[in-house]
């Protein structure tokens, strides 16, 4: 195809010729083209099919508001559906396909929908597919989804990279049209930190599409000069291809920068960046969007917004038609005819709805005032129009202008409402703007170029003074004069054919009438019922038209009818950009334990606990199932010695004159009486009396404690203690700092743990049972002087220690412990074996400390001191938490020991039905005990302590299982704790 519709002029670079494909046909365009302008250059009119009726559609705009010309861009995994051809920059090698048709674009079999349209009006789906209900998921929905819709996803992972970022400025200027550029010049020259963002790839906005002059230069030249000056300013950040899509609280904006979308190959750079912009002040210079007029068959390819026609002719050097007509209700539409004539393109007629004298003289064109276009002909491209005067005219492009709507969207993101300006027939920003925002230019209803330039300058000036700066004497640029008179005109009542309001959603004037008749009269209902203003364009060209027609139906004013709420994003944001880097293994950070490298060498399986990766089990040769490894680790530890990395437990360093008194208040049990050099188990309650966390706390000195928390609650316990310290007892002398990361801590457990450690701990430290008894702690050195902390505590129920060294020695330490225990066949054990051993010992852990259990439930009620005030003490005594038969933590063993128990099963009286009414509690944790050689469980059951030996049924209806279990002591191994103290 050749560029039959390419004309002279414009801002395209004719030395840069690009080849691209549309529906597999090779075409050519230039640098500076959009896909839309290049398609127009190549004479393409039909570019897609409509959403519901599969009507042939062409390009209707030249910007982000495009409702029709959406294409599938790129191929394979890189493909992106619903890309607006009007904003897709052309590059060499671009490939695009049209969407939403079966068979070729020209012969879409689904176009049958168009002839069925009487049955497919608003609310059709709601009314038709009600029954049989079973068909919805299997039949109706898939068929509707396949036939009504837009482009399709590749189904593959998005191969592109995305990034995010943060920017700060005094002033964010949104839009680099005349008012935005004027404002940026004024603020930039004054030295303010400015960000100027524009969605286009060149700055200047409408200046690039019009033939106005500014300061005696062509508008586009002035824009180029201003832009060049701004690029030279260090305090101004120029961001093209950047859409500010949302206004959030306190001057925060979301912006999407498209970095490589205009390149064939992004060379590994992020495709897009999602910026969070913090601004002290913002100036919205977002311009305005031209809207259409509803008349019969106003959706045909070749029917286009009048301003868009000027963009194509003036900026891109292409013409959408050879014999163009204009249909307008305002003076601005006439400029299209004038600009076309200036380019030597035939103008058939200018049809103006207003019965006034023609505002301009357009030579060799019929100018018909007080007249309307009532219908058009030409299924794949308009060729004839019919007028209310009875005339019929041949035309291959109809430029329509229904007036301009200020782009008020971002002014409404904080629930601000625009107000109707009757004189200009448009909504302008209301008084309730987002914090720090002001509006200038067409976005504020300043509809002439001069007023926009002035408003931009003045807006920046007043922002400068609010920032305590003064403008550096910038002058207001002066523009050529123009007229912007308009009188509201919405739809042609004489039209008998369907007249489109929302092209993207196939909503017609009749649909709006029907919505009104069926009672969906508020604009929000109208939107949901007809889908007016939904989907990717969010009704940028349709909304005002739709609600004006609704106002007519209801006999209300447009002001009374109001608008729907505008929400972010202003234009669609790819999911990939919202995800940014957070994909795959980068979804979130991970934390490694000091023994991670060692564990990897030992082929450990890893489990994610929070952000931590912990060794779950350590398989040795011949082991194929995790249970084999886990059972072996448990046996080896209980028979001799094992080592486990417990660094992940939270460690909080607590110092201060009131440290002991503070602990007495945050723990349910007493710490003031703990001797220096001793450790005590501590139980922490929430204020509501429920258990929050548990752990051990060691007294390292009179005013110095080291607390451990569970891995999961390390952060929340620290936060809670800071709350207590700062908000509840602000005069206590107590200071907290996390030391979790400081120490590599290992549990060394088993009957040979002392002997193992005696090989490692320097000889001057006596760690015999006498000198270092159960629950002792102290500072020692290992391996000839490496500082360490030793705690004689046990989670496994065995003789055990935890030993900590500075993290830098963590890797050396695990290897040293393995070496020291070699003669005792020491094994590393993982979180599975850790879990088995604590269940065998009946220790509560996360499954039991689940946010619903009290100390009494866990059999720890005696620990809650009645003598002192502590968090949770008072409310733990309330009636509701102390029923006659409380849930109590006990052990469970299957009657048939060959059966495995399942956690989550609920207890009912033996043989009773598994119903809520019969529920007596639930199984919290289960494990296979390699010591007892059968499955064991811990659980909470009513009055459990008094029911030892009773058989109950553990029912798990989800797994259709029902197992008879015996209530036993929770201490399956060493119930008297003898092993701990040897």
């Amino acid at each position: 195809m050749s560029q039959t519709n390419r004309i002279d002029g414009g801002l395209v670079n004719r030395n840069q010729s690009y080849s691209f494909k549309f529906n597999n046909e090779t075409m050519h365009g230039y640098g500076g083209d959009t896909l839309a302008s290049a398609l127009i250059a190549n004479g393409v009119k039909l570019v897609g099919r409509s959403f519901k009726y599969h009507r042939p559609r062409g390009i209707m705009s030249a910007g982000a508001e495009e409702a029709n010309a959406m294409v599938q861009l790129r191929t394979g995994a890189y493909t992106e559906p619903n890309t607006r051809a009007t904003v897709a920059e052309l590059f060499d090698g671009l490939e695009a396909k049209s969407q939403n048709h079966r068979g070729p674009l020209g012969f879409d079999v689904m176009a049958a929908n168009d002839f069925l349209s009487p049955f497919l009006s608003a609310g059709f789906y709601y009314k038709t597919f009600m029954w049989p209900k079973a068909l919805w998921e299997k039949f109706y929905e898939p068929v509707i989804r396949a036939s009504a819709g837009l482009g399709s996803l590749s189904g593959e992972n998005d191969p592109d990279q995305y990034d995010k970022g943060f920017l700060h400025c005094d002033l964010l200027i949104i839009g680099a049209g005349p008012s935005g550029l004027a404002a940026a010049l004024t603020a930039g020259r004054a030295g303010a930190r400015v960000i100027l963002a524009d969605e286009d790839f060149i700055m200047g906005g409408r200046l690039n599409s019009e033939t106005h002059t500014v300061d005696n230069m062509p508008g586009s030249t002035w824009a180029e000069t201003a832009t060049a000056e701004l690029y030279q300013m260090e305090n101004v950040r120029m961001m093209t291809r950047t859409t500010v899509y949302g206004a959030y609280d306190h001057g925060i904006f979301g912006a999407l920068e498209r970095c490589t979308d205009h390149l064939f190959d992004g060379s590994g750079k992020p495709r897009q960046i999602l910026w969070r912009i913090y601004s002290k002040q913002s100036l919205l210079c977002a311009g305005s969007t031209e809207r259409s007029i509803a008349f019969g068959n106003n959706d045909r390819p070749g029917i286009m917004m009048a301003g868009a026609v000027r963009s194509y002719v003036n900026r891109y050097g292409v013409t959408p038609g050879k014999r163009v007509s204009v249909f307008t209700n305002n003076d601005d539409g006439w400029r299209t005819a004038i600009d076309l004539k200036a380019k030597g393109i035939d103008v058939t007629a200018v049809i103006d709805t207003r019965s006034i004298p023609a505002p301009y003289n357009v030579p060799n064109a019929a100018t018909i005032m007080g007249c309307r276009v009532i219908d058009t002909v030409g299924r794949k491209g308009i060729h004839t129009i019919m007028l209310s005067s009875g005339q019929t005219m041949k035309t291959d492009c109809l430029a329509v202008s229904g007036g301009w709507s200020p782009n008020v969207h971002l002014t409404c993101h904080q629930r601000g409402r625009p107000t109707w300006n009757e004189k200009q027939a448009c909504f302008v920003p209301g008084g309730d703007l987002p914090v720090g925002m002001s509006v200038a230019g067409a976005a504020n209803g300043d509809m002439t170029l001069q007023s926009a330039l002035t408003a931009g300058h003045n807006g920046a000036s007043s922002i400068l003074s609010s920032l305590g700066m003064s403008d550096a004497g910038s002058k207001i640029a002066s523009a050529s004069e123009e007229s912007a008179k308009v009188s509201a005109f919405w739809h042609v009542t004489e039209s008998k054919s369907r007249a489109w309001v929302d092209l993207q959603n196939d909503v017609t004037t009749k649909d709006i009438g029907q919505s009104f008749r069926e009672g969906f009269k508020s604009v929000e209902h109208l939107k949901r019922y007809t889908t007016l203003g939904m989907a990717t364009d969010q009704g940028k060209t349709a909304n005002v038209l739709g609600l004006a027609i609704m106002a007519e139906c209801s006999g209300k004013t447009i002001e009374q009818t109001g608008t729907t709420i505008f929400r972010p994003p202003y234009t669609p944001i790819p999911m990939g950009a919202l995800a940014g880097r957070a994909r795959g293994k980068d979804f979130r950070p991970f934390r490694l334990t000091p023994s991670h490298k060692f564990a990897e060498e030992k082929n450990a399986a890893f489990v994610e606990t929070g952000m931590w990766l912990r060794g779950q089990w350590y398989p040795i040769a011949g082991e194929t199932h995790w249970r084999e490894s886990c059972d072996r680790e448990v046996r080896a530890t209980r028979e001799s010695v094992g080592v486990c990395d417990v660094t992940t437990l939270g460690k909080i360093d607590i110092q201060g004159r009131d440290a002991a008194a503070f602990l007495d208040r945050v723990y349910a049990n007493t710490f003031g009486t703990l001797a220096v050099g001793k450790v005590r188990y501590g139980l922490m309650l929430r204020e509501d009396g429920i258990v929050m966390d548990d752990g051990t706390t060691a007294r390292m000195g009179e005013h110095h404690f080291v607390m451990t928390t569970t891995t999961a609650n390390a952060v929340s316990v620290f936060r809670h203690m800071e709350f207590c310290r700062q908000c509840l007892w602000p005069n206590m002398d107590v200071h907290l700092i996390s030391a979790t990361e400081q120490w590599a801590q290992y549990a060394v457990a088993g009957p040979n743990s002392r002997k193992t450690l005696q090989n490692l701990v320097d000889k001057e430290f006596d760690i015999s049972n006498e000198a270092f008894p159960f629950m002792a702690c102290g500072e020692v050195t290992v391996a000839g002087g490496i500082p360490a902390r030793l705690f004689r505590i046990s989670f496994s129920g065995e003789l055990a220690y935890e030993i900590a060294v500075p993290t830098r020695y963590g890797d050396s330490m695990i290897r040293a412990i393995m070496q020291a225990g070699e003669e005792y066949n020491i094994v590393p054990y993982g979180t599975e074996a850790l879990g088995v051993m604590r269940i065998e010992k009946g220790h509560a852990a996360g499954n039991e400390l689940c946010g619903t259990t009290t100390a009494a439930n866990l059999g720890l009620g005696m620990m809650v001191s009645k003598k002192k005030d502590c968090i949770g003490n008072v409310l733990s005594q309330r009636e509701g938490l102390n029923p006659e038969k409380p849930l109590q933590l006990v052990g469970f063993k299957p009657v048939d020991t060959s059966i495995s128990l399942s956690a989550g099963a609920h207890f009912v009286t033996k043989g009773a039905e598994a119903t809520m009414a019969n529920d007596q509690g639930w199984m919290t944790s289960v494990a296979y005990s390699p010591i007892l050689n059968h499955s064991i469980g811990l659980g909470l059951i009513e009055d459990g302590k008094n029911r030892m030996g009773e058989i109950v049924t553990a029912a798990n209806p989800l797994k259709q299982s029902s197992v008879d279990v015996e209530i036993v002591s929770a201490h399956f191994v060493d119930p008297d704790g003898d092993r701990l103290r040897v």
């Binding site: 943060f166 590994g268 880097r581 201060g656 030391a739 979790t740 000839g784 500075p806 830098r808 890797d811």
Partner: protein, 192 residues
């Protein structure tokens, strides 16, 4: 039994990536001690620090450098500072360097192993950090001698400006790999 090998390992193995735009160098010989001021002990602490190190205490978000220039005090939170100084494993416990001097006037906790520290510098350092750092690093807002604790890529980070184009960034040891990745990817994304 002294045939154990104990090696003091830098968290990231002494990571170093130097290029024109941004350099990233792990600081492997840094002692870090947190110093908390006992209630009503401000004057006593200030005096002991002045006497021992010739340094006054910065306010929160401020940085003070000792007379000798070898010690940097970061104001992290009310009543709490981090003191950073050059220290190697052979010198023994870093805690003693501070605690022995301050005695009862402060509560000290060793933090040397809690943090991985990266010096990030170069003309493109700020451009790279824009991708992850929510704090405004403009010189007029975050001048040399300022410290902030914030979050980058879900990780807590202490960032100190040590020069016009130089930052010291500290984050938790256990997530050092993720932290390094966050920074190197930022550099890659602006320079690739």
């Amino acid at each position: 039994m002294s045939n154990f090998t104990f090696v003091s390992q830098p968290v990231l193995g002494g990571f170093k990536q130097e290029c024109k735009g941004v350099s990233i160098i792990e600081q492997t010989k840094l002692g870090i001690v947190s110093v908390a001021c006992p209630n009503d002990g401000d004057a006593a602490l200030a005096a002991s620090i002045q006497k021992a190190f010739g340094c006054s205490l910065p306010k929160v978000s401020g940085v003070e450098v000792s007379d000798s220039g070898t010690m940097r005090w970061l104001g992290l939170q009310p009543q709490q500072w981090f003191v950073l100084f050059e220290h190697s494993a052979e010198q023994g416990a870093p805690l003693a360097t501070i605690k022995d001097e301050l005695g009862d006037t402060a509560y000290c906790t060793d933090q040397s192993d809690s943090w991985v520290s990266l010096a990030v510098s170069g003309p493109l350092a700020i451009t790279a950090l824009e991708r992850i750092c929510p704090i405004d690093l403009h010189l007029s807002v975050f001048p040399v001698g300022t410290v902030a604790r914030t979050t980058m890529e879900h990780l807590g980070v202490i960032i100190t400006r040590t020069g016009d184009e130089e930052f010291l960034m500290m984050s938790a040891t256990s997530s050092a790999d993720s932290f390094l990745h966050a920074i190197t990817l930022s550099v890659k994304n602006i320079t690739a």
